[in-house]
Symmetry: C2
Subunit: 425 residues, 2 copies
Amino acid sequence: MKMVNAARMTCELAARRQRSGALRRDALAQEEMAAGASPRHTNRRSCVVMTIGGRHRSLVVALLLYSRWCAMSDLYPQPVFLLGFGGVGRALARQILAARARHAQRNRLRFVIVGVADSASSIVAPSGLSDAAIHDLLERKGRGERLADDAPPPPPDSLPAHTIVVDTTATAATVPWLMQAKARGMGVVLANKLPLAGDLSWWDAIADARARWETTCGAALPVISTLNTLLDSGDDILRIEGALSGTLGFLSSQLEAGVPFGQAVRDAKAKGYTEPDPRQDLGGLDAARKALILARMLGYRLEMRDVAVESLYPPEMDALSVDEFLREADALDAPMKRRAAELTAGGRKLRYAAEIADGKLRVGLVGAAPESKLGSIRSSDSLVVFHTRYFSDNPLAVSGRGAGQEVTASGVLGDLVGLSRAMRP
Amino acid sequence: MKMVNAARMTCELAARRQRSGALRRDALAQEEMAAGASPRHTNRRSCVVMTIGGRHRSLVVALLLYSRWCAMSDLYPQPVFLLGFGGVGRALARQILAARARHAQRNRLRFVIVGVADSASSIVAPSGLSDAAIHDLLERKGRGERLADDAPPPPPDSLPAHTIVVDTTATAATVPWLMQAKARGMGVVLANKLPLAGDLSWWDAIADARARWETTCGAALPVISTLNTLLDSGDDILRIEGALSGTLGFLSSQLEAGVPFGQAVRDAKAKGYTEPDPRQDLGGLDAARKALILARMLGYRLEMRDVAVESLYPPEMDALSVDEFLREADALDAPMKRRAAELTAGGRKLRYAAEIADGKLRVGLVGAAPESKLGSIRSSDSLVVFHTRYFSDNPLAVSGRGAGQEVTASGVLGDLVGLSRAMRP
């Protein structure tokens, strides 16, 4: 009884210190110790406990179990269903596991993964998969195995009602399922652009207050949240310009430097900057989808066919195989050289940019003034510039790494925390 | 009866279109018309209604009143108390009034101003001041009059329990009042840096989930929200660097261009870039306060005395009057020229920057590589760069106009909307 009281006191003290926001490292240490980590991993403060522990091992074990229980008992369990278990989906699962202590401490939150589905198979556990089971799935999927024997994802009504569904696929095939989930009151976090850049009726059904899509326009860069805050604040957005494709940013800088087009494309592919078929990047569709999402947030009722997209190859070349295209791309050297020269006259910088203004949307090559935001980013950076009533002379710009599986997953995790906080009853 | 049914149908249709997020302009038009604006202000769609209205005036009036009532009835009334009614406070009040239609449409929200206090007087109306009364206060205060005869702000317990208090003052005198308000469960939005950059016990009492302070580090630039999302996402922040003072940014660029220090200071003051006493900027304290707030968000338990601040004038000059200081500033021309030359060797750019890394915080002059984020901003821009685990090679940067009353007020309004949404029962 005395022991339990001592444990309770220590525990309450820890809780009070935790509330003060001071002792993130203590919380981590507690979590690690409870998870069986060596005391060497703990920090100075916890060493006190360890020292006592050397003499009173049973007290320390009771204390740790009780503190673990205290910490668990007022965590909000947020069910999460992962739709897509490719690079981003798996990075997300790993990050969820790795950030458990932080989510407990900062947000009193514990993500409970209630299922995982890929294109071929799925596994569902309404009461939550254990962390060990998730590690196991990560390993199996990493070896190229299937998740389970079952086929497609289960209907959303087999999941808890307040589940958040995370779509990290790159297909529009998830749309009907997402709509069912939304209709059941579930939350949705999208890294998948297609549901938001497809038919307007999809947008209307999905893009509401119970949805987040930060990573659809530049990975974890705070583009969507910034636009939402600008809209909330009562500012007027006059123009948005952006460099939304790292691949085309690299290509533009190569062209600007005088590298022939065909060579630049083959280099980009060799470096792994392009999709397996580089025409998927060169066509500009991906950048156009991102811009369309921003335009729709501004209230413009546009479809993809309304976007003026400059493709960096002529439509005739769509019929070629990838290898044929890569060989024949040299035929575009001369016209691309002319276009680049035209746009970079007077020291301007060649960029592949999106522009949204006056309800119109264009994606293509531009010549940017070298001192402008667009002109001064590094070629591989993503950038979005908001010209608004209040940000007119010095527009608001967000820039940085706008692609990559780990960084995208971290952005999805940020969305998950935010949406969970907003949906918490 | 028929008329009311027609009105209800039109109204429901409008509501459905509104929900679809499409017709912001319709909503605005409705609001304007209901407020008695001329039909010429309305857009094409509303013209249809107007045309019918020409013939059936009473139907249109009934329709508008009914739709106005529908729109009002499910708005969430958010009480707001304004602590401070200077430039930012008044701009905020004007923006709240101007954005009413937008807040109703985007967030089903109506801000109810339950009181206003400045350093000398206050006025309180727990059921809310009318928009006309607020306009009247704005005019009176604009003419230099007092708000009312009453003296200090009323105790927080005379306000509704779920009030959000907005502090746009620049004094630490509000701290006890803010603490009382927090203890009563109220929300707090701060444009005032002092409560967050003062004693750590203030920070602990104020900086929690019911507080927002986006505008304390660069006006409406999304610096605080970005940092919070990075922390939520599980990313690790390795280093933050920032140019957090437009005034010192301007001065640095002048020094870099060879303008003597004394001259540059007098120019900056003449252009209205500095405080009435330029030493308030030159001392670096304001930039240091902003950096301290960011550092505390990272979990560092630092006080102002822990910050290494480079002042651009020696402490002996604190004893001078403003005029004396401006005259004698030329004595600093030579040493400042040497320091600038040292830092800008090899084409580097002179910046007054903050750096937070490894629990240490420094604010002062640096020489930035011209191709770096810090080196490539315009002198009057504010900038914050986050170097993190996921944003390492291409750090995440937020830049743009980081000062100004209107833009700061818009940032405060963004905070108000966000916090109201988070606190809504």
